[in-house]
Subunit: 427 residues, 2 copies
Amino acid sequence: MNKMDSSLKQLKVKGQAAKAASHRLAYISTDIKNNALLNIASDLLTRRGEILAANKKDYAAAKASSMGAALLDRLMLDEKRLEGIAADTRAVATLPDPVGETFEMRTMPNGLQIGKKRVPLGVIAAIYESRPNVTVDIAALCLMSGNAIILRGGKETIHSNTAIVGVIRDACDRAGMPEDCVQFIDNTDRALVNSLLRMNDVIDLVIPRGGAGLINSVKENATMAVVTGGIGVCHTYVDKMADIDEAVAIVNNAKVQRCTVCNALDTVLVHAGIAKSFLPKMAAELDKAKVELHCDKRAMTILKSNKSLKLVPAVAEDWGKEFLALIAAIKVVDSLDEALGHIEKYGSGHSEAIVTEDYSAAMRFLNEVDAACVYVNASTRFTDGGQFGLGAEVGISTQKLHARGPLGLKELTTYKWVILGSGQVRP
Amino acid sequence: MNKMDSSLKQLKVKGQAAKAASHRLAYISTDIKNNALLNIASDLLTRRGEILAANKKDYAAAKASSMGAALLDRLMLDEKRLEGIAADTRAVATLPDPVGETFEMRTMPNGLQIGKKRVPLGVIAAIYESRPNVTVDIAALCLMSGNAIILRGGKETIHSNTAIVGVIRDACDRAGMPEDCVQFIDNTDRALVNSLLRMNDVIDLVIPRGGAGLINSVKENATMAVVTGGIGVCHTYVDKMADIDEAVAIVNNAKVQRCTVCNALDTVLVHAGIAKSFLPKMAAELDKAKVELHCDKRAMTILKSNKSLKLVPAVAEDWGKEFLALIAAIKVVDSLDEALGHIEKYGSGHSEAIVTEDYSAAMRFLNEVDAACVYVNASTRFTDGGQFGLGAEVGISTQKLHARGPLGLKELTTYKWVILGSGQVRP
């Protein structure tokens, strides 16, 4: 048997083990799951020696391969970061267990009791890139929602992830969870990912976390369900009836507070009736963070007298672009309808906001914009599981089926219909 | 431009028209949707002349092509059947509108009001086979749930469907619905279906209705979400502690009441401790409908003395087979665990039942069986949108994501997060 065949065989063994573990996990008590998470949190700290030693190996190898400083920083673990990861894990243990909830239970005229019971999805595979905290993060959320998990991290963090998964499995075992509920693919051969994506007999859902290349490749090749988010092209429409100071603060926060994430602002649409009073104030505020403004003709005419601004004439590619940087596109529109049309054409269905004091404009925006999250008078930066009160998230979905927006514990579950009879037959 | 290019262009025009209509449909009032359905119901009867004339053409062509009697019967419309279809449409209009429901609304510590609002999926495409009533049925459910619909029926019913869709569009228009919310693909070229399945820019969900060939082909080729059910391999486990008369009635109903449908019984698993008293009674009852029993060795030993029964030794292929006929496989098991193992191995995740008076056995079965619908002491034939109180269904899902079991109006919707602020920004 050559090396690839042996890895493939091992992958299938791990898949079967995860599936077998998932059966018991499906109805394990909340206490046991909570204890497993608390064990993980404490073991990450008591066994920090082996984790940090493994991480040093990854770091040294990455540095030798001339990885950039930003990526090196994402890969690096130290005691403080481990404490943060442990705290996040303890926080998941405080969330309500979504599994077992019975809902929509009714008694039919024939006496049948029919309702839905929330159950885990089964086996979830996560395919992700360099940050080792994702290993703990995803495992904690999947275990808390009763799912077995198959983890496939990046090759840059192979030593860190191996050490961390060892800790997680031991911690699960000590709490009375089947340790096979966490599986780790320690072979980072890419061909093996494609084999994984064909294992729809054991895997119920794949979650890719990483860049657009990874996400698109998983989407195209997976034979099971995939939940992805990824691209957020976010607009804020400043209506004619906006409170100008509020609009400046919201636009500034949405663009500047953290510009490298999917819920950050990309395009400001501003009504022509307020553009002359709003845009100079907005531009002055954004300029404090050196935001580059890609302006349409009318915005340019309004702003160009201020020579200190970083102004660039907008080109067609600026509309619908996710900048992930301190850049914003600015367009003046003549009506709410034009703004809605622009968002429909260029939005990615992630997060869209209107700033207005006009009740009817706010209601129309809420009704007519088709996106995971639609805001009135707030920053799109709030699109986040923690901010929405879900406690934690595995990602943000821009799909319409199953779950939309931040994916918390509940979104990692499904339901089954339970029917309690007393001998009923269908007439 | 050749014929195919022109059809493809027309398909894209229809797709765009459906998408444009879906925007207005998304927030149209319940009154208008109800009126459209009531108009459809009455127009189907007042315009029965043109519908029945079109149906006669389809029937004549099908007969000339030597279509079998069962298929011919499915294709045929008469006044009584039109009255039935109209009544079903009126029934959909009495169901609660799922769209617009706001739920899980909470106020966060910073004053943001965050919640979910139920909205239509957008544009749904239905690809289905010969029965013309499906055209009305699916259109009614999609319209009531606020979705635009693209219908692609079989070529055998092209005249009937063309007439029916004409009636539906006029009825929608008269009620104030955009008539473009219902699109009909009148070109039955198969290549065009593949083009349709690539239109993920306008279609949010595809529902295939028909045989396994159609369903698998749609699943493989669709670039958008697909909800399918299809195969139901249904077990009934008769536990050691079952009430024998109740078990006989339930097994008989599940097998005999309508054997050609997905929720009909395929395999009886019976505990060895009750097999000798149960199986002869069950076999005698099933024999009244001439059910053929595919028996494992132990069941055969128990039953073979009754020479009037239709007994066949079970072969490996009988386990996990959806018979869709008056055939049942019978297996004697030594424990609940063995029954659960068999169901896990051979079930299709559709409907599974236990008959028992043992509380703990019932609870274990409910917890441990992973299927869309899990029954205690009732016939699996109840798996149906109408029987479950959903009013109507577009199908039965055996998927785990989005929706499981009967798909009613609510399952044709999604939600968006709505966030009502007063100037909040993220710290």
